[in-house]
Amino acid sequence: MTRPAEPLSARLARRVNTVIAILTLVFLAAPVLAIVPLSFSAGSFLTYPLPGLSLRWYSDFLSSPLWTRALGTSLLLGAGTTLAATTLGTLAALGLANSRLRLRGVLMALIVSPMIVPVVVLAVGMTFVFSAAGLTNSLLGLLLAHTTLAVPFVVITVTATLSGFDPGLLRAAASLGAPPLAAFRRVVLPLIAPGLLSGAVFAFATSFDEVVLALFLSGPAQMTLPKQMFLSLRETISPTLLAAAVLMTLVSTSLLLAIELLRRRSARLRGGER
């Protein structure tokens, strides 16, 4: 059986839509792709055609204490944020999954609200409170701030993996003699692992890409990679900055791939797509 032929106008409309969509996808992808070759340029002008290829801007990046220190700070901060947000968020998600808990909706709304409030507004409030508490110009203060932004992602992703969780499994484990902690480790943890890990990845990415709170709360001693990029971009854009940008993108896109793989694994564990 063949479907009736579409009228010409409909085919034309479809074509036009496809063309606009493809151009938009190019618009989305091209700018970032365009800077990748420039970071490998042998010259120092950020334009095409390239005079030749070299790794000099990457070695420049890696030999500049300014950039490597910022990279180190960002990695440390990202790791700390991931640890804190994943721990706090997973515990909370486990508690929220219990249907006996009162006001679950309200608590959930409260916990995800840092995602809604504009970061600048949050940064102002944190500046007031953290400066009174002596937490500005400190890595700890920045860690607390980043964890606040990152924790909703963990709660949401872990809650999602818990949504199909059958509490009967825990009762089964208990009736077979498993102590609660063992039941958690061997029954709950494997099931929520994909959500926990993708929450952790989101948490790291949030911290690794965060610049507003860093600008408001941190001092020169806590220079993060995004803050360093922001300050450099205000002055002038250098090929070394592009090398830093490409390295950052590499980290982020590997994280995206990790998330995608985890999502698939989680879907498989829960028996197909919801």
């Binding site: 496809t18 938009t24 949050l122 409030g125 990029m229 950052m248 993108t249």
Partner: protein, 407 residues
């Protein structure tokens, strides 16, 4: 007997239930405690700062109390002058006097120097009395205006900053607009809403075709195309901005190509302009439009369109009257989401925009980090927060909570 056993069992069950409830709460409590300190208290303190007026009370406590009791008619009594001279002279070496001078300068430019000068020059005893001493330093102390300003600043809370955030002020007969040459915030607010609206429109115009293409593509290809949408989504914000700077700057990729092809004689001023802000913001926010649109379109059964066609509807009519109405929740959710995110933007306009393209967040940053006028920063934040929450309430009705930023 049986009844007793039932009661005992019920009681034990209730106790177990209560224990389980507490255990669940104990799991959530650490995060709640954490967010109380890093989120709730900061927002509350921000809102308090937007209305708090502590400077006069801190610098001149007795004068403040007397001014609060004064009805504002005529000139304040000599008791007020006596208290003011005594406290001002004592405050001269104090940090509080500087803060007060700064606070009063918001009421009327020039009051800063008036306060500091007076505080420095007053030295008791005052032979002709305190009032004459003050007027000798500056005749403005003999006028009512400064005392009315001081009286306004004496109240523990003030609407001053919130009014100023909307370019309003407390005049002698109620609230009036500030003089046109000092009215900046309404322009910035209007600009913020305008840029957000234009960005939303651009995202919708570009995002709708992409979502449609994705929704109609076979699953495998849709997944691949979706990766093209998610890839820029996951590229760090500053990297994307750096990319746009490379493309748009004076000797950037676009200008070099245009001049190389002989299309323009000299480089076009693309960067640090309104169009650069709109292009970069559209680029950054486009995925937030595509994702909700796509998920709504995906859920529309193609059967409906076929049914419309079999009932004789021409394709355009079927699209407009069957498909489009069902997309509306997605359109509304995506547009609100993009608009909400856009009105809070700071980094993108700061890096690719010019001075006339800065949005409200940049004013907030200026008053927080730049001049440390925390009252003004807090009031502008409160305005931005209120706008965001109103829009978010609409969004939550359409799309539910928790989907923001995750797609």
């Amino acid at each position: 007997m049986a009844a007793d056993a039932t009661t005992a069992l019920r009681r034990r069950l209730m106790r177990a239930e209560r224990r389980a409830r507490w255990r669940a709460f104990a799991l959530v409590a650490p995060l709640l405690g954490f967010l109380a300190f890093t989120f709730a208290v900061p927002l509350a303190s921000m809102l308090w700062r937007a209305v708090a007026d502590p400077e006069l009370g801190a610098a001149l406590p007795r004068t403040a109390a007397l001014l609060r009791a004064w009805n504002g008619a005529g000139m304040p009594s000599d008791t007020v002058f006596a208290a003011a001279t005594e406290e001002l002279a004592r405050a001269a070496q104090d940090k509080a006097a500087g803060l007060l001078a700064k606070r009063l300068n918001y009421e009327e430019p020039g009051y800063r120097t008036l306060i500091l000068k007076t505080a420095n020059r007053l030295s008791p005893p005052f032979a002709q009395g305190p009032r004459a001493a003050m007027e000798a330093i500056d005749p403005r102390w003999g006028e009512r205006a400064i005392w009315l300003a001081m009286r306004r600043a004496a109240a523990p809370v003030t609407g001053f900053y919130l009014l100023a955030a909307l370019d309003l002020q407390q005049g002698e007969q109620g609230v009036v607009a500030v003089p046109a040459e000092r009215a900046i915030f309404r322009i910035v607010l209007g600009r913020t809403l305008g840029i957000a609206a234009a960005t939303t429109a651009a995202c919708l115009a570009l995002g709708f075709p992409v979502a449609l293409l994705l929704a109609r593509a076979p699953p495998r290809r849709a997944g691949l195309l979706m990766l093209l949408v998610l890839l820029p989504f996951w590229t760090p914000l500053l990297v994307r901005i750096a990319a746009w700077i490379v493309l748009l700057q004076e000797h950037g990729v676009i200008n070099d190509t245009l001049t190389g092809l002989g299309l323009t004689g000299q480089p076009l001023p693309l960067l640090y302009s309104r169009s650069a802000v709109l292009i970069a913001m559209t680029h950054v926010l486009l995925p937030y439009m595509i994702l909700p649109l796509y998920s709504v379109m995906r859920s529309i059964p193609p059967v409906y369109l076929r049914a419309a066609a079999s009932l004789g509807a021409p394709p355009f009519a079927a699209f407009r009257r069957v498909f489009l109405p069902q997309c509306l929740p997605g359109i509304a959710a995506g547009s609100l989401l993009v608009f909400i995110l856009a009105i809070g933007y700071y980094i993108t306009p700061a890096l690719v925009g010019g001075a006339a393209d800065q949005m409200i967040s940049s004013q907030i940053a200026f008053y927080t980090i730049g001049t440390a006028n925390w009252g003004m920063a807090a009031a502008l934040s409160a305005v931005l927060l209120a706008a965001t929450l109103i829009l978010y309430a609409a969004y939550a009705r359409l799309a539910g909570i928790g989907v923001l930023r995750l797609g």
